[in-house]
Amino acid sequence: MTEAATPAIACRNLWQVFGPGADKALTDALSRSGNDADKAAANLREKGYIPAVQDANFEVKEGELFVIMGLSGSGKSTLIRCISQLLPGTGGEIHVDGENVVGASKKALTELRRKKLGMVFQHFGLFPHMTVVENVAYPLRVQGVSRKERLARAQEVISLVGLDGREDSFPRQLSGGQRQRVGIARSLAVNPDIWFLDEPFSALDPLIRRQLQDEFLRIQATLKKSIVFITHDIAEALKLADRIAIMRDGKIVQIGTPTDIVLRPVDNYVREFSKDVAKGQHAKVASVMRDGEGERGPDDPGLTTAMTLDAALAHCMELYEPVPVRDASGAIVGTVHPSDLAAALQVDET
């Protein structure tokens, strides 16, 4: 994948402001502050508006699993609703496959949703009067796909999420985990390119949550969708994400890989999050590796770039000399000093 490829989603200077006449208020605030987002947001707050998303800028590459993380009220749910155009967006641009969807016609949006977008909701959003298979087939039904065809496709995705045998149950007869499987199946029915998941596992028990996370990763490994995934759980974000955007009070404060977030937090707010997580389980060897062959000792404990720090450390428990690191193909790409591994695991006491 080249950097020049069109990103699946690109947001530029995206704002969502709540309040009467928000459009004009935002334009005023921005022109008065000379396009300084922080000042404009402060100005809006003073006037009683709620700037729920402030000047968001990011791209989601094709096939990337992009996680937006933040506490409740940080604007992450609003942001995903802007991108999916469930909310109109007060200012800025959203490009989906290179096309700006802000201000697109109702018809164009409906078409986009029918072909390219799928969404999973925190509380499932299942239609209570439809059976599992009817729920899953609904996105096809609105497009006028014939009954036989849509039921066949629904059956396919139901199998994909492991709900065989529950096709004719109603949502109220299912457990929470099963309901979310239906939600996932429904969002995949039209085989969308872009997949939105709004805190899909937050309402589930920890055990079920982990099960579904693993299955989600399995499904994603085969489908390779471009994903925007919302969560308030840092462990979930670190486990699933290719890249993470951390939001606070409507602002994106940091965008980076899980390793970046854990090892190089931009401020104390992000550091607070990563404090609770065992760094060794999330940061990868690549983050402490020095490029090139370099000087190293005679031992080769078999480290690879994708190993977590914990695993690497376990391999070099008794070593003091730098050791080689290989990539997936087995070629040596750099060296790691065991003391760097240990140092990276130090808990910040700030």
Binding site: L86, T110, F121, F124, F127, Y138, V142, Q143
Partner: protein, 688 residues
């Protein structure tokens, strides 16, 4: 905060809003009383100052109604077709088949219990000999309900789709709910003339708002994520609405269907007052007028049976249903058809059935015996309530206390004595720190001395403004005063005060009795087991039927009206009181218990305060119910606005009917907003 000294000036400066409002009211009241002799216009609004508002309204409405009359007549002509059709079908279908149909429907909706209810209910109707009349009534309901459902559903969907009209629609529905039913009838009478079509249209108009309300509520309450899921599935707005949102709101919408059915039935029966055409409501009215109470009660029971069957059966629609074996449906229908075919020759004409006539006669003679045996006791109850409670409330102690009722004549010095006593009580309470309470006590004593119907108008306006101010700020105060002023200048003031007195007395009695019953039901569950079915029954019975038993025992008069109003209006008070008290969060109860509070302390310090907003809402409902019943009770003797509306109906006087209806709606509206205001304040204080 640091005030250590107890200087009176500081007290005045720190008066609460309530105390200030009460103080102003007391002062205005005192001034009015003092100046009564010199300036009689202060007490009674001079006739010369009245505007002929009712005539204006009448002229305008006459013009307007005449303008739309041709269109409306055409509509009513169109409506006669489905009505004649329904009449023909229901009237000519052999009764075993109809009973079979209802029984089968009952089975389909609710299994054996509902099937049994349908069978027994219709068998009772058949045995009563009112079959033909019942079918006429049912035909009206059968035509008016679909009209109401479609109209109400369309209004609800429209309000949901076009947010700009939503508040307007809601206001309109509020008004339609508060304007008394009889007031609708007068303009309809002008438009459509006497006859069953008026009843049909009146009941459709009356039954549409609950449907609209429930559709709106249901659509509003669909989970936002379900709506979003429909959008993200790529549905058009039409698909979202009809494939997802409306089916998701089905339960709430079915509640609307249930309420719509009940409202239509209730109104069809009331409409008999103008369009009697051999239906069951007309039968009740006729027998009531002829004082054939046994038959009247029997016809009333037929109505109750219909109400119960329709309510319970349609009620199952709003709950999660099991599927019942459809074969039973076919079996029942098949049996009905076979029965009809086999006994065709011997099938009695249902109108000739007199199986229950002996019962009606028994009731009649039993009643006569009962009133004769218990006459002195019943009369004493009635007279004592009238002389010692209702009359003083209405015209004040100074006029109600007469030698032949109380045994002595009220004198001016007694008035002074009463006021002095009131002042002492107020001072005592103020001294104990309850200044507002003291002032309110003084106001109440003043009102008792003067009588509600003789209250000086500046005092009433000030009192309403003060209450409005405390309950909902200056906006509510302004609204109340402006609306009351329209009643004042339109010449309906005296009648409005009379209505206020009777409904006030009824609401007060309901609040006390209903509150106590609710309390008993909350603390002692066996009581609730008995009270609950009674409440269910009272809420199912159409308004009209309440009049029969009170009339049987106490004859026509204000006391009967008072009792009928109480019987109808007490139910919400009981329900809400119990509901509020029972639903104290467990954690709060556990916290109180672990603090070592006794039962009584928990009730006083935890449960009652927590239930206060709910109980206030119950009071609000009770007030609205009382106003609704007040107009119906005009049939058996009340004065005031209700009587005016009823008279206007008889004389086809649209101006008076609508004006008096509007005045009634204004009173109900103000009371509603004030109580809601207090409830809101309590909720806020509790952080709910």
């Amino acid at each position: 905060m640091t005030a250590v000294t107890d200087l009176p000036q500081q007290h005045v400066a720190r008066l609460t809003v309530g105390a200030q409002a009460a103080l102003i009211t007391v002062i205005v009241g005192a001034i009015c009383l003092a100046l009564e002799g010199v300036a009689p216009w202060l007490v009674k609004w001079p006739i010369a100052w009245e505007l002929p508002a009712t005539e204006w309204v009448g002229t305008f409405l006459d013009w307007f109604l005449n303008a739309i009359k041709p269109a409306m007549r055409m509509f009513s002509d169109v409506m006669t077709y489905p009505m004649d059709g329904a009449n023909y079908v229901l009237g000519n279908t052999p009764w075993p088949i109809l009973i079979g149909l209802v029984t089968a429907l009952g089975w389909y909706l609710g299994g054996l219990p509902m099937a049994a209810l349908g069978f027994l209910g219709l068998s009772f109707v058949l045995a009563s000999g009112y079959w033909a009349e019942s079918m006429n009534t049912l035909a009206l309901v059968a035509v008016s309900v679909p009209v109401a459902l479609i109209a109400g559903g369309a209004i609800g969907i429209l309000a949901n789709e076009v947010p700009r009209v939503k508040s307007a629609v809601q206001a309109l529905l509020d008004i339609m709910q508060t304007v008394p039913t009889f007031a609708y009838l007068t303009p309809l009478l002008l438009l459509f003339g006497f006859g069953p079509v008026v009843g049909l249209i009146a009941s459709a108009i009356y039954a549409a708002p609950p449907m609209a309300r429930n559709v709106m509520l249901g659509l509003e309450r669909v989970e936002p994520e379900i709506k979003e899921a429909a959008i993200m599935s790529g549905g058009t707005r039409f698909q979202q609405l009809f494939q997802v949102e409306i089916p998701s709101a089905a339960t709430q919408i079915m509640v609307g269907v249930n309420q719509c059915l009940m409202a239509a039935l209730s109104m069809v029966i009331i409409a008999a007052v103008i369009g009697g055409f051999n239906d069951i409501g007309w039968e009740v009215l006729l027998t009531m007028r002829k004082a054939q109470f046994g038959e009247s009660l029997m016809a009333g029971l037929v109505i109750v049976v219909f109400a119960v069957v329709i309510d319970r059966m349609s009620g199952t629609l709003a709950t999660e249903r099991k599927r019942y074996d459809p074969r039973a449906v076919w079996a029942i229908l098949g049996f009905a058809v076979l029965f009809t075919a086999a006994f065709w020759v011997w099938l009695p004409n249902p109108s000739d059935l007199t199986l229950l006539d002996p019962m009606a006669d028994a009731v009649d003679s039993g009643l006569t015996a009962f009133t004769q045996n218990n006459g002195p006791w019943l009369d004493a109850l009635k007279n004592n309530s009238l002389f010692y409670v209702l009359l003083p409330l209405r015209i004040g102690l100074d006029q109600a206390v007469l030698p032949f009722t109380w045994g002595f004549q009220w004198t001016t010095s007694m008035s002074f004595g009463l006021f002095a006593a009131g002042a002492v009580i107020a001072l005592l309470m103020a001294w104990r720190g309850h200044l507002t309470g003291g002032l309110v006590a003084l106001i109440l004593i003043g009102m008792l001395e003067t009588g509600i119907s003789n209250l000086p108008w500046p005092f009433v306006l000030t009192g309403a403004a003060a209450l409005g101010w405390v309950a909902g700020g200056w906006r509510l105060a302004t609204l109340s005063v402006v609306l009351l002023c329209t009643i004042l200048v339109s010449g309906l003031w005296d009648r409005a005060l009379l209505s206020l007195y009777l409904s006030g007395a009824a609401v007060f009695s309901c609040a006390v009795a209903g509150g106590l019953i609710g309390l008993a039901s909350a603390v002692w569950s066996p009581v609730w087991k008995i009270v609950r079915p009674i409440c269910d029954m009272l809420q199912t019975i159409p308004l009209f039927v309440f009049l029969i038993p009170v009339l049987m025992v106490f004859q026509i008069g204000e006391f009967s009206a008072f009792l009928a109003i109480c019987a109808y209006a007490i139910v919400p008070m009981i329900r809400y009181t119990r509901h509020g008290l029972v639903n104290t969060p467990d954690e709060m109860m556990e916290a109180a218990i672990s603090s070592g509070a006794t039962e009584w302390q928990i009730m006083r310090d935890v449960r009652a305060p927590y239930a206060a907003p709910t109980i206030l809402l119950g009071l609000n409902q009770t007030i609205l119910y009382a106003f609704a019943m007040l107009v119906i009770a005009a049939l058996i003797g009340t004065t005031g606005l209700g009587q005016s509306i009823y008279l206007a109906l008889g004389q086809a006087d649209v101006g008076l009917g609508i004006s008096a209806g509007a005045a009634m709606a204004i009173l109900a509206l103000i009371a509603d907003r004030m109580v809601q205001g207090f409830a809101e304040e309590r909720r806020k204080a509790l952080g709910l």
